[in-house]
């Protein structure tokens, strides 16, 4: 019987990929374990092995085809003696076509529950980008470029972490940096977060500017003592003599079904600590401008990225001196009826919800905080004074959230302007479940935000 070989999922967040190269041709006999093709995801090129034995009856997708969706039939295996014409008609053209038509600015890796907002016209949703030329790049490329530019600018900036060098980065953020800067400045570490974070803090005291990459922020819990007790507090404890100019960066929050120990959002934890600065970019422009500012900042900066956003594309200014000042929020969309405040991937959900709300005649203003310490209270308060309603959006746990802090600030400073209580939309108060259906319920969704807005608008 003929069996279809399907486009495999090769990573937790992969939804489609490029069939880069066939290593077999029609008529070849293949054994289980034999490499059939090379498949490119936005993270890596992977070899794809045969599971079953058989003869390649037909190759259904030509090599070089991009945007092949997971589970699309890519070849047909037949048994010895079986004719290729017995094979089922390929039913793939549609899926591939659809993918090919998707706008280039939507990432090949969008696995978020919400659709990636398409960067429609230049200028929106980045109305606050400086004048001047821009180019389209992914968040991943923006982060890489920010590090490379700052490493060129200052010879004392160096990167350390697990798999940052020879492996080219577990999430390929540091791809190519080892080649350009060498092993002295792109330092592969053993799996010893507490140790290397402490070494980096010491190096910052010794005159260097470390960038510490955590493979994910879940593993920074191993190192949190040095982040807080050593990096954040030393300037104060030394009476201002010596601080820790450094960046701790890496992906934070949920990826896709990686379970309770690999999915936590630490935004509120780090934002609670005096002595730290905390960035949480949404777009590629945020990522580039904030990371450059973080590397130049004389304080320890926590830089919270998001794996699902890595592959998404946005417009980014080409000016090499483009940085984003800390404590300056970005109004992503103007509105009059309600203020949505978010940061990181929450901004994608807030924008998606604002789009939905517009259909119902509700005009939502969307604020992207960009930094959580300092927080741009002024922009939030000015907006709430205009709209009289506020909903906050974040992925983290509800208790002691950034939303809680904003709600109390708004109550204290704009109480008379409020027409409804502030609602905080957060992740659920549970460890992240693995099951696909439960994970969806645990995460914040645009539908929940829309419902919260309707309730504060009494609709």
């Amino acid at each position: 019987m003929a069996t279809e070989v399907l486009m495999p999922a090769l990573s937790p967040t992969m939804e489609e990929g490029t069939l880069a190269k066939w290593l077999v041709k029609e008529g070849d006999a293949v054994k289980s374990g034999q490499i059939l093709a090379e498949i490119e995801t936005d993270k890596a090129t992977m070899e794809f092995e045969a599971v079953d034995e058989g003869i390649i009856g037909k190759l259904l997708i030509a090599e070089g085809t991009a945007g092949v969706k997971v589970n699309t039939p890519i070849a047909v295996l037949v048994e010895d003696g079986e004719s290729v014409s017995d094979t089922p008609a390929p039913k793939v053209a549609e899926a591939v076509m659809a993918a090919a038509e998707a706008p280039a600015s939507v990432s090949a890796q969008a696995a978020a529950p919400a659709p990636a907002p398409v960067v429609a016209a230049k200028g929106w949703p980045h109305a606050d980008l400086p004048e001047g030329p821009t180019k389209t790049m992914t968040v991943r490329e923006a982060l890489r470029e920010a590090m490379a530019e700052e490493m060129r600018r200052d010879p004392n900036v160096f990167l350390m972490g697990e798999e940052v060098g020879e492996y080219q980065g577990a999430y390929k953020i540091s791809q190519g940096l080892l080649d350009e800067f060498g092993a002295k400045r792109v330092v592969d570490t053993p799996i010893t977060e507490h140790g290397f974070a402490g070494i980096a803090v010491g190096a910052s005291w010794g005159g260097l500017r470390p960038i510490v990459e955590f493979m994910t922020f879940n593993f920074a819990m191993q190192a949190i003592d040095h982040i807080i007790n050593s990096a954040a507090k030393t300037l104060y404890m030394s009476g201002g003599q010596m601080g820790s100019p450094m960046v701790f960066r890496g992906p934070n929050g949920a990826a896709a079904r990686v379970g309770a120990q690999h999915s936590q959002d630490y935004a509120a934890w780090y934002a609670a600590i005096p002595g730290l600065k905390v960035c949480m970019p949404y777009s590629a422009a945020d990522a580039k401008g904030l990371l450059k500012a973080a590397i130049r900042d004389p304080n320890p900066v926590i830089f919270l990225e998001n794996e699902i956003l890595y592959g998404r594309s946005f417009e980014v200014p080409t000016d090499p001196d483009f940085t984003i000042p800390f404590g300056k929020a970005s109004v992503m969309r103007e509105g009059t009826d309600v203020t949505l405040v978010s940061f990181g991937i929450g901004v994608a959900h807030a924008l998606a919800s604002a789009e939905e709300l517009a259909k119902d005649g509700i005009s939502a203003e969307v604020i992207n905080l960009r930094t959580l310490r300092p927080i741009d209270y002024d922009t939030v308060l000015a907006s709430v004074q205009k709209t009289n309603r506020c909903v906050t959006v974040e992925e983290g746990f509800p208790v002691g959230s950034i939303g809680d802090h904003l709600a109390s600030t708004i109550m204290q400073r704009a109480f008379d302007y409020l027409d409804a209580p502030v609602i905080t939309c957060t992740g659920k108060d549970v460890p992240m479940p693995y099951a696909a259906n439960l994970e969806k319920f645990a995460l914040i969704t645009p539908a929940e935000i829309t419902a919260a807005v309707k309730s504060v608008c009494y609709r």
């Binding site: 799996i191 379970g259 690999h262």
Partner: protein, 329 residues
Amino acid sequence: MAAKKPAERPNASKDELLKYYREMLLIRRFEEKAGQLYGMGLIGGFCHLYIGQEAVVVGLEAAAKEGDKRVTSYRDHGHMLACGMDPKGVMAELTGRIGGYSKGKGGSMHMFSKEKHFYGGHGIVGAQVPLGAGLAFADKYLGNDNVTFTYFGDGAANQGQVYETYNMAQLWNLPVIFVIENNGYAMGTSVKRSTKSPSLWERGAAYGIKGEAVDGMDVLAVKAAGEKAVAACRAGEGPYILEMMTYRYRGHSMSDPAKYRTREEVEKMRSEKDAIEHVRDLLLQGGLASDDDLKAIDKEIKAQVNESAEFSKDSPEPPVEELWTDIYA
């Protein structure tokens, strides 16, 4: 590692060898199936296969008795099958279904069985090491003679908490066997690139812990070393370190481009050192089993694995209420 040994007269009975063959084959076929289901999108997130390392858990389980405990990392499917957990329940956890060992809430990296004394399934590299010593602490405190097998990787062996644990385990003579599964790589980092220690087990000497390196591709050598370590622990002379020299054939997880080693290196291991082939040779060349006998076992295992896969697809997703259960006791 050395070239393939000619099949010497095995120091094990026919029944034992058949048992090891069956158990190792179950792990391998199960993992191949899991890889397939991942490719089809039925399993999500991280999925770390144990293919190549089967002799380690099967050999050590042969040295264990009822009541002994085990704890390991995220690369845990083999450990669960070897200690007698039901392949159906493991596979259904991989697909995130209610029939899984954690009701679908844990996933590949986080499964547990109180009944089989399997304490997880841990995602933070090195974290299981003090946890294993803690299980041993409880057994010593309660005055039984159980031991705990605490498995961790060569990469995990560099985590600081391993050494804090070594110190206390020896200070308090805990009945814990530290099993370092040295498969040569921690993700893309070879052992040589992460340490200048000549060997990992010898680090225990700094704390006075006995240990040895073992050919982890030879189930009989593993079992013999396991028996020695277990005897020491039961006699109150624990802890003990076993460094299992082994190899993983597949990528670190499903999304590993594997550029850090050559295909030839993997092929060489597979063709010269494969643990299942080794036992197969012992059985066939020793005249202890025929080709047909082994084919029959292969068929049985295949059926068992297919049954687990079917179960894992048919078992429903957990009901939404499960989101809110098991947070507090």
